[in-house]
């Protein structure tokens, strides 16, 4: 497909075979992921619009939950990937992790924006306002700002700048560790948003099973979509880095 070096697996041992499996899956991602993501997203939209029952109090508009909550989960997953890859940038000094961190941050920012937009459109009829300085809304907006700032800082230097990659990795780590403090401070400050209703013990479930099943299907769909988007975006970043490297080599060759 491309001339980009792929992560190769170590030989021997459980870890080695696991690595080989991951490498194999990675080679297939161009053929396997798009149709799987397509099917899962179709299931998600059919589930949200057709299968799920109409909510008694909020009416049809409650169906926004099936894209709003998965978007939030996708954003958290993407930011988790940014955190892990930033640690790896500092530890392994491998620029491939930097490419994945940048790709995941872009995808996370996209889903945070989608979460904020669908949340505002859901809040307007139900709460009577698009926006309120509520705890969860504030911390989501701050997540958006933090990772947009990360991307801005990273984009000021080119892809090959290791120093910039290290700085941005440090920023991403600080930002990720700041999130719990932000959430604690804004929760003490004020709260309006309903508490999480998805991750409850079976006996303490507030959502009916039919809604929950549709929601879980949506989450699986969006997690697959997030994986695909991160892979695609990281690939783009890596090829972009190669273009920059080639240009530098060419400049040297023609300059001599």
């Amino acid at each position: 497909m491309t001339t980009i070096t792929r992560p190769t697996a170590n030989s021997g041992g459980m870890l080695g075979s696991l690595g080989r499996l991951i490498a194999k899956l990675y080679e297939w991602h161009w053929y396997v992921l798009p149709p799987v993501v397509g099917i899962a997203m179709m299931a998600m939209i059919v589930g949200a619009v057709v299968v799920a029952p109409r909510e008694a109090v909020e009416g049809q508009v409650q169906r926004l939950m099936y894209i709003h909550v998965p978007s939030a989960i996708a954003a958290y997953m993407a930011f988790g990937v940014v955190f892990v890859c930033s640690l790896m940038v500092l530890w392994k000094r491998d620029m491939r992790y930097d490419a994945v961190a940048r790709g995941a941050a872009t995808v996370g920012v996209l889903f945070t924006a989608l979460m904020l937009a669908t949340g505002a459109l859901w809040g307007r009829p139900i709460w009577g306002t698009f926006w309120a300085w509520d705890a969860r809304l504030t911390s989501s907006l701050l997540l958006f700002l933090l990772y947009a700032a990360y991307l801005l800082a990273r984009s000021l230097a080119d892809e090959l700048d290791e120093q910039a990659a290290r700085y941005s990795a440090v920023y991403a780590i600080v930002a990720y560790l700041d999130v719990p403090i932000i959430q604690m401070s804004v929760r003490w400050w004020r709260t309006l948003h309903p508490q999480p209703i998805v991750m409850r013990l079976p006996g303490d479930q507030q959502l009916p099973t039919s809604m929950l099943l549709v929601l879980y299907a949506g989450m699986i769909g969006i997690l697959l979509l997030t994986t695909w988007l991160i892979v695609l975006r990281s690939e783009t970043e890596r090829i972009g880095a190669r273009a920059t490297a080639l240009r530098a080599t060419l400049d040297r060759a023609e300059g001599n």
Binding site: T2, T3, T5, I45, A48, V49, R54, E58, G59, Q60, V61, R63, L64, I67, H68, S71, L110, A113, L114, A117, T118, L121, W122, R124, P125, L225, L229, L232, R233, E235, T236, I239, G240, R242, A243, A245, L246, R247, T249, L250, R252, A253, E254, N256
Partner: protein, 60 residues
């Protein structure tokens, strides 16, 4: 009490955002791939011209 307008707007924003991002990403991927090809060609040509013994091959 159904607010179908808001429901429709929410889904529209979500899908439009996703598809816009995907299309932009595809375009960008194609663009960087073409750049890499062009640069590799130019690099090969410049190596032929100088015919220097030094290996200046790009990092792979």
């Amino acid at each position: 009490m159904d607010y179908l307008g808001y429901l429709f707007a929410g889904f529209a924003v979500f899908w439009a955002g996703l598809f816009a991002y995907l299309l932009w990403l595809q375009a960008r991927l194609r663009q960087v791939k073409r750049q890499v090809e062009l640069l590799e060609e130019r690099l090969a040509a410049s190596e032929d011209n100088t015919a220097a013994p030094r290996a200046t091959a790009g990092r792979s």
